[in-house]
């Protein structure tokens, strides 16, 4: 049933072209997507790699709620999201969101809505491994206000 895998987690590389193909629809006038990539720096630290921990049962059920909400709110034709789990190297795609709709405005807004909600609501954590050998869980060991500011500005 398609509804059950609109939100998924993957332990292998995400293939955006494959994901895009699942959204094709003759009624769609717009397709928008977002890819979150692993960058080589964060908060002044040189990042070497990153590890995502995901509590999949709830990440999937809550992700489905987010996508269903977006479909209703923006009258989308289709929407999907996939999030990586495990160790990722610089440049890899960590999260992909794609939506289709009749017109571009809904597609852009829905795509933004889904990635913002995914960042706030899903039980997903990332641990950064730095070039200098240190490591740290993002939003935990630094400071609480930093985490709030980060969320608010995304």
């Amino acid at each position: 049933m398609a509804m059950l895998n609109r939100m998924s987690v993957a332990d292998q590389a995400i293939n955006p072209e494959e994901m895009r193909a699942t959204l094709v629809d003759r009624a769609a006038g717009a397709y928008a997507s977002f890819e979150g990539w692993i960058r080589d720096n964060n908060d002044g630290h040189q990042v070497q790699r990153l590890e995502y921990e995901v509590y999949a049962p709830l990440a999937i059920s809550e992700g489905e709620r987010i996508i269903e909400g977006a479909i209703q709110k923006y009258s989308l034709l289709h929407a999907r999201c996939v999030h990586r789990i495990g160790l990722l190297e610089i440049g890899e795609c960590a999260v992909w969101v794609g939506v289709t709709s009749g017109h571009r405005d809904e597609a852009f807004r829905a795509c933004r809505y889904i990635i913002d909600e995914v960042k706030h609501r899903l039980p997903i954590w990332k641990k950064e491994f730095y070039v200098n050998g240190d490591s740290g869980w993002v939003n935990c060991e630094r400071c609480a206000t930093h985490a709030r500011g980060d969320f608010a500005s995304v």
């Binding site: 709830l58 899903l122 039980p123 997903i124 954590w125 869980w137 939003n139 609480a144």
Partner: protein, 81 residues
């Protein structure tokens, strides 16, 4: 009266606790009570307001009651994307 609960820890909470799961007997009423007791026991520093909790695989709020036999999942601040 104390309740027997299974507690699951994730990410930095697992590192603070030194384990991913434990069964505990606690005198608590709510998920928030569980957080406060275990947070102190394991020396965690993250504020409750930035953390999340699930009871038996359902997201809950800190006022949610816990019952004998429940599994409580303690989630540190999330950072997806």
């Amino acid at each position: 009266m104390s309740k027997t609960l299974t507690i699951r820890y994730f990410a930095i909470f697992r590192e603070h606790a030194g384990l991913s799961e434990e069964t505990v007997s606690l005198e608590v009423e709510t998920a928030g009570d569980v957080f406060e007791l275990l947070h102190a026991r394991h020396g965690a520093r993250e504020a409750q307001g930035q953390c999340k909790v699930a009871i038996n695989d359902q997201l809950a709020d800190w006022q949610s009651p816990v019952r004998d036999g429940d599994t409580v999942l303690l989630f540190p601040p999330v950072a997806g994307g």
